[in-house]
Structure formats: C-alpha cells, structure tokens
Symmetry: C2
Subunit: 338 residues, 2 copies
C-alpha cells in the first residue's frame, strides 16, 4: 500500500479547482469539473476522481478544446433543451442544462436534453442521480472514441458508450446504474497494462481479431461489447442517440478529430427525464416508490445479489464521515499543476 | 421437413382473425392481434406468428383476461398518453395509442405512451417500427412473468423483459432491435424441451441454482440475464419502467396473478418517441439520416457483422413476393379453433 493523505471533500474540490484554473481552465469550467471529480472521490470511483485531472489537462491541450468555453442554453417551446458546450467540458454544460430539463419534464411529463460539441470524460451517474434527486426517472447516453468492435467484427468502431439510468427512492439515494456497452471499462484495461497484468479472456481482441489476454494487445486491438450481439445493439443505439440524433460526432469521428491522440472524446450527450406524476394513471408517486422497494427487497432476498450503485452509496457514507484517502503520489501530481 | 401450405398474407390474417373471433375475441381485438401475427409470419418470426394463436386462446381463458375489451385512451395536456387496455391484449391498445403518441412527439419533441392493465405476448418491434415509419426514434419496454434470476441470484424474479429501439432510415425499413434481457428467449428453451435437445451452457440454471443444459430443468429453474450484471441492470430497468413507473404489475406479480398458469403476462408497456426535428440543433433530419447511413456502412464493412433486423427485412421481401409457407400441422391447429 502506498501512503495516503486524508482529505476533506472540500479540500479535494479546492485542490482540483486550483489545478485546473492554473492550467488555463475558466473558473466556471474548473469548478464544475472539480465538483464531479470530488463526487467521484467521495463515492470511491477513483478512476473518475483526482486521477482524471491529468486527463482533463491533456484534453484541454487539444487545439479544438476550449477549457474556458461558456456553454449556451437554447430554450424553445419544445420539450427538448439544447446546450451548446462550445468545445468545453461536459460538467459545466450539464450544470446549465439540468434545471431547464427538470422544468420541462415536470411540466410536460417527459423531456430531453441534448448537449452538443462537448468534451466528455466524466461518468454519467452524477447527472442521472441529480435528476432522480428531484423525483425524476432519467437516462443518459454518450459516445467516446472508437474502441469497441461491433459484434462479429474485429475493428474498433463504437465507443465504450455508457448508458446510465436512475430511479428516485424515498428517503435514500436513488437507484442508479451507469454501464459501458463494452465488457470492461477502457480504464480497467489501461490499469492492467500499467501493472503488466493479463486481462480476462472475453474482454478484447488483438489487431488480428484474435481473443487476447494481453492488455497491450487489447489496447491496440478492439474491446468487445458486453453480452455479444445484444450489447453491440446497445452500443449502436448509444452512437445514434448521442451522435446522429442530436447532430454530434460518432465515436469514430471523434477519434478522427483527435489528431493529438489525447483520448478526450468530443461529441454529444443525450438525456431523457420522466416525471412519474405524469406516467402514473393515479399520480400516486409514493405508492409507486413503495412498490419499487418491494421489488428491490425481492432482489436482495436472494443471496449473492446487490443493487446497482449500492457500493457507491456505502462508500459515500464512509467519505462523508471520515473524508477520503488520496494516494500521496496522486496528490503530489495534481498539486504540481498549480 | 414437414409439409407446408403456401398462403398469402391476407389469408394468414383472415385465418388468425377467424380463429380468434370464433374463440370469443371481439372483432377489434382479433383484428389487431391478427395484424401482428401476420407481420410476424411475413418477417419469418415464426414464434410470434400463427404458432402464437394457441397462446392467445389459452390466455383468454384466464378469468382476469377480457378478449373483448375496448381500450380507453386518456389524453391530457401532458406529453404522456395513457391507454387503459382493460385486461385486453396489447395490439389493440397500441393501435389506439400510437397515433396520439406520434402527435405528442411531433409537437413537443419527445413523448411517452403508457399502456396499462394489458396482456402482452407479442413482440415489441412492430410498434417501434411503426413509429420509425413516421420519422420518430422510439423505445418500447415491457415485462413478462418471473423467469429470470437477478445477477448473482438463483431464483426467477425478472421477466424476460424485452427492450426495443428503432431508428428511421430514408427510403428503407428502419433499423430496429427488440431484445430480451435474458440470454435466450423463453420460447427457444421451450422448443429445445419439446425436441428433447440440450440448451447451451449459460442460458439458465436449475432449481438448485446450478448451471444446466437440460431444457426441462431450465424451465423449472431460472433463465439468466444476458451479459451478467449489465443485462441484469437492464432487466431491472425494464421492470421499473413497465411496472412501478406506470403503476402496473412487476413480472413476479404477474406470475402470482396467473393462477391458471396460462403463462400470459399481465402488466404494462411503456414507449418513448422522439422527433429528430427537435433534437437536431439545425433540424436537418436528412443530413442526420445520411450520417447514420455512414455509421451503418462502417459496421457492415467489417466482415461478420450485420445490422439488427436485417434478416427480418430480407424475409419480408421474400414473403411480400411469394407469400409464406405455413406448416400443415400448424395450419390445421389454427383452423380447428374456427
């Protein structure tokens, strides 16, 4: 175990904010990113925590990225809210788009948010959780770069294409999942490569299309969709929703655009929010939530099961009580940016 | 090969209609079911074709089912359309709900349809395809009976919980997928049981929670979600969307209600329709569709890939040109109902 530093969440936020503003990010961009980075540390999603600051800095060096962009919200009579992120990062665009999305969903029963021209290297659970915290059921979809072969194929084309979903629960954090369309996250393979460890069979194929357990060969080859053709269909759906449907780049187009190979994907994010008051014939949200709790109890009554995001919420309790433990090396690395 | 009878699609429709009306279905219910059954035969989805008439008849014998129900459409200012199917079958409820859903989506950019109290034993692709034929991107979700164990568990709880998605293509049938959250359709296991053939490992577990290749043991045990915990999350999402979100039964509640063990699930169906005119910042649907075609070309340029539903549309061409070939035995069985 490497040595760690115990930090409060406020200190994590300040560290991230200082690092990003020192690297040319506007305060608004840096603050929004620092908030999602802090939430990830809080929930012990370390790969989306302070570890990711370096990735933001690297992406910002891309001449097509604008770490000072002010997103533009476009509101019309439509239930689809648009935010043009103007080549900035996603957290600020979301911060500006989520309230209008909520308002439209509250009023009309269902609404959507299209975030355009955005660099998105964050997880999707914060935004669907934020919507669920306001009583809405929510989906989020985004592409990435071309990493995943379509089922039956051998060459990277789809992104890891996460899809997130949330369900508001009474008196406790919402049920949330946020899962890649690939068997594993790309970051997991990268960590195996750094550690010189083999990856499990079934995660990826090499450049020749052969199954591989070499992390390096996997990174040079293609990741595989989860669940064979079914996960591949979901990856395709995400390409369409976050790409063609909202006029933003497909994952392979993002790769083509990333001439500096920063790995920072530019594209769109698409969200849907649903107001249960409108979908329930009797509008009785309390009863519907109680019924969902019965379903969850029925799942958990089976030994070996757990609810998606349960581990995250356990971690959150620990972090809120005790702060978080950041590896000294990571802390020094982020501090170096200031 | 058993002997077959060549029939026109009109003849298939008439045969199904006569069988159902002779068995106490109202003309409206029977006509809507016959239309989906005929579409399935046309696309060579035989398990949803005339083969399914016996299942409809058996389900209708359930005292809680009403094969003469007139669904009630409820329209308000909300973008969520409600159809109370009144314990009838889904095809008629859909027939009445799809146009209002389309109108709401066209006007507001995104809309939803909640079908309540419905017996649903049809595929979901006809409805998402119908919406895509009108230029909309669509989702559909429905539960079934408790057949699938949550990931890590050993007892059936979730339904096979299909999720369907469609994307409108210019000058050709839409891209559509309609996939169960289980590794295999339940019907596939039933066919293996009838033929006395083993099922592939990974499809199901027996009553003791052990992996099995016995179709009979699988039917008595539990099916498995596709893609381990990720497919399980999708199955859970479908339970919530088609169950608690719209106030309808979960799959395990449907099983509890099915005291005669007809296997006909009663619950809800939830649909979302999206108008690309509203999600595209420039409203240029033609350009967006052309971009999607590039994505499809990129997929198909990889040997071994295919687009979801491609086989169905190939079959459709054959059937429209030559009619369909129905096994004599199946034809006689359906004719027997008249």
């Amino acid at each position: 175990m490497s040595n760690t530093i115990n930090m409060s969440l406020d200190d994590v936020h300040q560290l991230a904010l200082n690092a990003l503003t020192s690297q040319g990010f506007s305060t608004a961009q840096a603050d929004a990113i620092a908030t999602t980075v802090t939430a990830a540390e809080r929930d012990e999603c370390h790969s989306h925590g302070l570890f990711r600051i370096a990735f933001y800095v690297k992406s910002a060096a891309n001449p097509t990225t604008d770490p000072t962009a002010t997103p533009e919200v476009k509101l019309t009579e439509s239930s689809v809210v648009h935010v043009n992120a103007r080549e900035g990062f996603c957290p600020l665009a979301l911060q500006m788009g989520l309230d209008p999305l909520r308002d439209k969903a509250m009023k009309h029963g269902i609404a959507a948010l299209a975030i355009h021209n955005v660099y998105n290297i964050a997880a999707l659970w914060p935004e669907v959780e934020a919507l669920a915290d306001q009583g809405l059921v929510a989906f989020a979809f985004t592409g990435s770069n071309a990493y995943v072969a379509p089922h039956g194929g051998t060459k990277p084309l789809f992104g890891t294409n996460p899809m997130a979903f949330s369900w508001p629960r009474a008196n406790q954090p919402p049920l949330v999942f946020d899962q890649a369309s690939s068997v594993s996250a790309r970051g997991e393979i990268q960590l195996h490569a750094i550690d010189g460890k083999p990856i499990p069979a079934g995660w990826a194929i090499d450049k020749r299309g052969q199954s591989t357990t070499s992390a390096d060969d996997a990174l040079a080859g293609a990741q595989l969709p989860f669940g064979a053709h079914k996960g591949s269909s979901i990856a395709l759906m995400v390409e369409l929703l976050a790409g063609a449907l909202i006029g933003d780049l497909f994952s392979y187009e993002s790769t083509q655009r990333d001439t500096l190979k920063t790995g920072g994907p530019c594209g769109g994010e698409f969200l849907i929010a649903i107001n249960p008051m409108h979908t329930l014939a009797d509008g009785n949200v309390e009863a519907a939530q109680a019924r969902a709790e019965h379903l969850f109890e029925n799942i958990l009554s089976q030994e070996g099961t757990r609810l998606p995001s349960a581990r995250r919420f356990e971690a959150r309790k620990r972090s809120l009580a005790n702060g978080v433990n950041i590896p000294e090396k990571l802390h020094a690395q982020v501090l170096d940016y200031t």
